[in-house]
């Protein structure tokens, strides 16, 4: 009897340990969701649909990478959607209006994304302004500039070669955006788990003062987090611009919320200090599969929004419950 209870308690303990791994719960949720989609739709498993889902997911998933960095430092970046609009229109203008080579247009797009991140990070670090206010303001400025330049109209007339990034395939199967997404995730994983940078970013979110007193340049690493966020938003912007083959000043509206949702669904603590990039990827997958599945079932987009909100609340409920236990 004693032996039995001992075994039982040991087993339960192990399961509890597994439950403590944030990615585990999220991944289980993802599997359940996929199962439901397979049961309720007949097209979900088709290869065209899966490729389609993967491509749709990639844009949000890439933005969510930078968002993870920022949230881990206990910040938030609301400006990513505006970064996409700004980078995208400048890129499009560079190619269509100024006749730049797509390669340089892409570079300027990335540079601008990082610049906005640098401004965000500097205001947060040096001026000690709250991240939510800084990036709220930075939601307006770049989008305003994009609208100003374009007069609110899309900029088209991009060179055909540019379409490869958004519409192309690797080995004729894997969409290029998916390839880009995987590369971004691998790099982010290495940065967060195998470089001091990652350790510092987690630590800053856990206790900034202790990190500062440990002789670490807290300001520098916080700025880096925002620059990464601007950078990944710009990467998404390249993919989106290429897919649409036009620069859209209205692109990316509300994308910051999808990215935050993916990060939080992935088990990252909104207060910073805990979380993982793998979790974020799973979170983005959940968001994407949910979108796709509800579309396949024929649920109205309005109902989908309600659904999305509910899923986020459920996810946060479990993560805060876990945190408090």
């Amino acid at each position: 009897m004693a032996e039995l209870t001992k075994n039982k308690s040991k087993k339960r303990w192990n399961f509890k340990e597994l439950l403590k791994v944030p990615e585990f719960i999220t991944f289980m949720g993802f599997l359940v969701l996929c199962l439901a989609m397979i049961l309720f739709t007949d097209r979900f498993l088709s290869s065209t649909n899966l490729i389609n889902v993967a491509r749709q997911i990639s844009i949000n998933a890439i933005i969510a990478v930078g968002m993870t960095f920022v949230i881990l430092t206990s910040g938030i970046d609301l400006s990513v959607g505006a970064v996409m609009a700004f980078s995208g229109t400048v890129m499009a203008a560079a190619m269509a209006n100024w006749g730049w080579n797509p390669f340089f247009a892409v570079l300027i797009g990335l540079a601008l994304g990082m610049l906005i991140g640098l401004v965000n990070g500097s205001l947060v670090s040096f001026a000690k302004m709250p991240p939510i206010i800084v990036t709220l303001a930075m939601m307006e400025i770049p989008r305003g500039l994009a609208l100003l330049y374009t007069g609110g109209y899309p900029l088209s007339g991009l060179p055909a070669s540019f379409s490869f990034l958004g519409r192309g395939y690797l080995f004729n199967v894997i969409p290029i955006p998916v390839v880009v997404m995987l590369i971004v995730y691998i790099i982010a994983y290495i940065l967060l788990n195998h470089l001091p940078l990652g350790r510092y970013i987690y630590a800053i979110g856990g206790n900034e003062e202790a990190v500062r007193l440990s002789g670490i340049k807290v300001k520098k690493y916080k700025i880096i987090a925002y620059v990464v966020s601007g950078f990944t938003a710009a990467i998404s912007s390249i993919i989106l611009t290429s897919r649409l083959m036009s620069g859209q000043p209205n692109a990316g509206v509300g994308f910051e919320l999808d990215a935050i949702a993916a990060v939080v669904l992935g088990g990252t603590d909104i207060a910073g200090g805990r979380g993982s990039i793998i979790g974020t990827l799973i979170g983005a997958l959940i968001m994407g599969v949910l979108n796709n599945g509800l579309n396949l079932i024929g649920v109205s987009p309005y109902v989908q929004r309600v659904f999305k909100g509910l899923i986020i609340i459920v996810a946060i409920y479990f993560s805060s419950k876990k945190k408090n236990s």
Binding site: W13, K16, I190, H194, L195, P196, R199, Y200, Y202, A203, G206, N207, E209, A210, V211, R212, L213, S214, G215, I216, K217, G273, R274
Partner: protein
């Protein structure tokens, strides 16, 4: 003696730990019952069970001859058991009255707050406790001691049967401690029963009626304080007697001045401070809370801004405008509050230890060499005897003494030549204290210099080669530590003695 509270065969398990093992003892009505034991002995767990934060796995609590089980702190409070935690639960922006009546506000018939009545009640309460507090001021602008008195008043306002005080003197000055003890006496006269957790043995003798000692989750003994000696208590706590709390150093002091501080002027200060530390020296900095000790060492490493300062290491000028520059120059600060300033509580023991020295475990691609990191952390955990199930344990699950060792380990991994310890043994038990003292001796033995800020005069006297006494932001006295230096002499300078010409 009548039993008000009986603790019967309480057992509590946490994953991998037996926190309390079949603990039984009684609390008498109207006594001050001292609860003593090393960190990790189970005191906090037991108090959390008594106050409804945890539920016991086995055993029961009998309150006034009736078995009770509290599901949450509120139930415990309603039944008559309140706890004053080390971390206060006051709202900083509200004043004493508003805090005392938080959640139980008195209302007039028309539903508006009856501020007058609450103020009178609060004043009565504080009069009863025998303390004077400005009732208008937001509590954040009151001293720590005053906040604590309000916390006690708040608890007593709800119930005045059993009060648990968890290390109430940890952050108080000597004078404030006196007021607190008077307050405890007043409460006792009123018939309030108190359980008092402390690390300070002298406090047990001063206010305690009976004393219970826990060790490693088991009950050791409960006896009237009068029958005990300090040595006996220490023996009960650690299971052995500690002959010498302050281990002797054999190092000979050199002549080389390792650290020189010149013209250090803090932003809000009128004084310039100069001092130096020799190689292999322990420089003690004494003074009352608020005398500017912590401010001085924080300014020294650039944690706070200064108007001016010149810092020399081995005669060479170094910049310490930020903690990062100070680290580069070889000066590290082990801050006074390990939880809010020393540790990232959610991170593992390993990640905390290696935080300040990740550059030492990089491979040639500048990636973290995790094997190297693990090896060095394992060595430090062994060397410092840090008690943790494994290095991946989150630091917040460790006891205070072990947490402090983790902070120390972090700094030992760096190349600091000067280590500043701000209240190195606050809130940790005798056993861990001695280990930290031994470690300090080893460090100065290997050629480091230590600056130790401390409120505990025996510690200052026991460990320092030289003592600076601070008073109101400047150095009031410099004392070579020899037999003639006494606690009284330090207090004389710390209270401004030499300044106003008074003789002790």
């Amino acid at each position: 003696m009548e039993k008000i509270l009986e603790i019967k065969n309480i057992t509590k398990r946490f994953p991998g730990v037996l926190a309390l093992n079949d603990v039984s003892f009684d609390i008498h009505r109207g006594e001050v019952h001292i609860l003593i034991g090393e960190n990790g002995a189970g005191k906090s767990t037991l108090m959390k069970i008594l106050s409804g934060v945890y539920q016991p796995d086995e055993g029961k609590i009998i309150l006034n001859s009736e078995a009770v089980s509290f599901k949450n702190p509120k139930e415990a409070q309603e039944a008559g058991v309140s706890i004053i935690h080390q971390e206060f639960s006051l709202i900083p922006y509200l004043n004493a009255v508003e805090n005392i009546f938080l959640g139980r506000e008195m209302k007039k018939k028309n539903g508006l707050l009856d501020k007058k009545k609450m103020k009178v009640k609060a004043q009565d309460l504080l009069d009863m406790l025998g303390v004077e507090i400005n009732l208008e001021r937001p509590v954040q602008r009151l001293s720590v001691a005053e906040q604590q008195f309000i916390e006690i008043a708040k608890a007593v306002a709800v119930n005045d049967r059993i009060l648990i005080l968890d290390e109430p003197t940890a952050t108080l000055t000597k004078r404030e401690v006196k007021i607190l003890f008077q307050l405890i006496q007043n409460l006792k006269n009123k018939g309030v029963t108190m359980i008092y957790i402390s690390h300070h043995l002298e406090e047990a003798f001063e206010i305690g009626d009976r004393l219970t000692c826990l060790r490693d989750g088991t009950w050791i003994n409960t006896r009237p304080v009068k029958e005990l000696t300090q040595d006996e208590i220490i023996r009960m706590m650690v299971g052995r007697s500690i002959d010498n709390i302050y281990p002797k150093r054999t190092t000979k002091l050199g002549d080389e001045e390792l650290l020189q501080v010149r013209n250090l002027k803090q932003v809000d200060s009128d004084f310039k401070i100069d001092f130096s530390v020799k190689k292999g020296e322990v420089l003690g900095i004494a003074g009352l809370v608020g005398s500017g000790r912590t401010e001085l060492v924080r300014a020294l490493i650039g944690a706070d801004q200064t108007d001016s300062k010149e810092i020399y290491i081995s005669g060479e000028k170094v910049e310490t405008k930020s903690p990062e520059q100070a680290l580069k120059a070889g000066i590290g600060l082990i801050p006074e509050n390990r939880k809010s300033q020393g540790l990232v509580l959610d991170m593992s023991v390993k990640n905390n230890i290696s935080l300040a020295s990740l550059s030492k475990v990089l491979n040639s691609f500048l990636f973290l060499d995790k094997l190297k990191e693990k090896n060095s952390v394992t060595r430090l955990i062994d060397d410092l005897n840090i008690k943790t199930p494994h290095m991946y344990q989150e630091v917040k699950n460790l006891s205070g003494g072990n947490q402090q060792k983790v902070v120390l380990a972090k700094w030992l991994r760096t190349d600091c030549k000067v280590l500043i310890f701000d209240e190195p043994t606050r809130g940790i038990d005798v056993g861990a204290k001695v280990e930290i003292y031994k470690l300090m001796n080893e460090l100065v033995g290997s050629g480091l210099s230590i600056i130790m800020v401390s409120s505990e005069l025996p510690e200052i006297l026991g460990m320092s080669d030289r003592i600076l006494v601070m008073h109101q932001g400047r150095i009031a006295a410099e004392l070579m530590n020899c037999d003639q230096v006494t606690q009284e002499k330090i207090m004389f300078y710390a209270t401004g003695g030499a300044n106003n010409g008074r003789v002790n």
